[in-house]
């Protein structure tokens, strides 16, 4: 009757508890309390939201552990924090201070342009971004216990999140129509671990929870992603870069619960004030896009 901690089941399990919920970026304990009060199922603690990371330029790194700890002390819901792609020491630090989930995130400047963190080495669970099924299954192969679309963070433009969710979900549909003898070629063509390809086909979904992220700014955006088939939604800059964060946050929480009920969606979309200004991804220079970070 020995208790086991850090198993893949408990890592994946916390993500399952977050399903049907909204995870919000917060940069202060006050923001965290607003998010919790609005019904967020978790918060992402960081020094700058992605829109400000874009505006600031320079190298974006893990946030100050002191800030993350103050946010952890201010709320009872789970607290996530970001480390750079491949920066396993930032991850060790985040694990040491006790964050509930680590986002190995393309929003920060990558520390390794070839390798991601071997996430099986940690007791704390990881979430990673993806644009397609190959990326998703490679990250799960490395130990990610939760996946999110990359979208294009800090833009308020949902188009890339839609593209990535449709790409992943479309590939899963395609897998289910394939014969078992076709799976090895699928694994090869997508750069995805064969066993995980098989498991995905059997389950008819990714083997871990899959959220949308990167550009969600309105209740309608959130419900759109839910109707496309994701399990929940991350909102980064969309809340605290808007005119009335508390109201918008609560509206997005309700929209994710009632994502199929258009009359409730209409009700919660009323009088939210200004949405974040936003940047049109199709007019952005390639070099400014961050979704291509990660390998």
């Amino acid at each position: 009757m020995e208790a086991t901690t850090g198993s893949f089941a408990v890592k994946k399990g916390l993500a399952q508890m977050l399903k049907g919920g909204v995870i919000m970026d917060v940069v202060t304990p006050e923001h965290a309390k607003i998010a919790e009060e609005a019904g967020a199922c978790a918060v992402m603690a960081l020094e700058r939201v992605p829109a400000d990371i874009r505006a600031n330029g320079g190298v974006a790194r893990m946030s100050d552990p002191e800030l993350i700890l103050r946010i952890m002390d201010s709320v009872t819901i789970p607290v996530m924090a970001k480390c750079r792609i491949g920066h396993f020491v930032e991850a060790q630090i985040l694990e040491a201070i006790g964050v509930d989930y680590i986002d190995e995130s393309e929003v920060l400047t990558p520390a390794d342009e070839e390798h991601h963190i071997l996430k099986h080495n940690f007791n704390v669970p990881f979430v990673c971004g993806c644009r397609n099924i190959g990326e998703a299954l490679r990250r799960i192969g490395e130990g990610a216990a939760m996946i999110r679309t990359k979208g294009e963070a800090g833009t308020g433009d949902v188009v890339e999140a839609v593209r990535h969710a449709r790409t992943v979900i479309g590939a899963i549909r395609q897998l289910q129509t394939m014969g078992d003898e076709e799976l090895m070629a699928f694994a090869k063509n997508n750069g995805a671990p064969y066993e995980l390809v098989k498991e995905t086909k059997e389950l008819g979904r990714l083997p871990v929870v899959n959220f949308a992220a990167g550009g969600v700014a309105t209740p309608a955006d959130a419900a759109l992603m839910m109707q496309l088939g994701v399990d929940g939604v991350f909102v980064g800059s969309g809340i605290f870069k808007s005119g009335d964060p508390a109201k918008r946050a609560a509206a997005i929480v309700k929209a994710v619960t009632h994502y199929q009920d258009a009359s409730i969606l209409a009700e919660v979309s009323k009088n939210l004030g200004e949405a974040m200004v936003g940047r049109n991804v199709s007019q952005m220079p390639e070099g400014e896009k961050i979704a291509s970070r990660g390998w």
Partner: protein
């Protein structure tokens, strides 16, 4: 037999999969009208603050209390918190089960764990002697069990992780994250 699963937030889909596997019809509950025609209700794991706020916003509090006076309700983790009378914090609770709960009692996520437990009442209900594999995720503890409520399961050190009061059932752990259907079968027996 038709059992509802409160679908405001959390792992309600996992409960629905388990119910279907044991041949029980399942329905998602998001609004008061969805409680009609149900024989029982499961309140899933998730974030209890989120679930509570949404239950208040969509006027589910009194209909859920009324449901619990007549029919079976099972709360897992966040659902158990929601059933309880007191968690020593200001958050919406149904308060229909005579237990007090401590949230996040084992610490943060790195302290989440799995362990096999012997649960005598489960053995009696399902006729199976095998130990039950329990999964605890940022789990609450049941601190006190009062009135008509009874202890159903304890950790080896005596801490309480499941309780029942008539047709109301509370578990700190998540049978919906396992492939063992016995706990769902046991709950179905309470719905009859």
């Amino acid at each position: 037999m038709k059992i509802g699963v409160l679908a405001l937030q959390g792992d309600f889909a996992e409960h629905i999969v388990m119910l279907k596997r044991i041949g029980v019809e399942a329905a998602e509950v998001r609004l008061p009208a969805h409680l009609n025609d149900l024989d029982g209700l499961i309140m899933p794991g998730g974030e209890s603050t989120t679930i509570g706020k949404l239950a208040v916003a969509y006027r589910l509090m009194d209909p859920l209390r009324e449901f619990g006076r007549q029919k079976a309700i099972w709360g897992t983790c966040a659902g158990a918190i929601f059933l309880s009378k007191d968690v020593r914090r200001d958050q919406p609770l149904l308060g229909i089960m005579d237990i007090t709960v401590q949230r996040n009692a084992f610490g943060r996520q790195v302290n989440s764990f799995e362990v096999d437990l012997d649960i005598p009442e489960l053995k009696a209900a399902t006729g199976s002697d095998a130990p039950y594999h329990t999964v605890f995720i940022r789990a609450p503890l049941i601190e006190t069990v009062n009135g008509d409520a009874k202890i159903i399961s304890q950790l080896p050190d005596g801490r309480i992780v499941a309780a029942r009061q008539g047709k109301l059932l509370a578990t700190s752990f998540h049978p919906e994250l396992t492939r063992d259907e016995r706990f769902h079968q046991y709950f179905v027996s309470l719905c009859r």
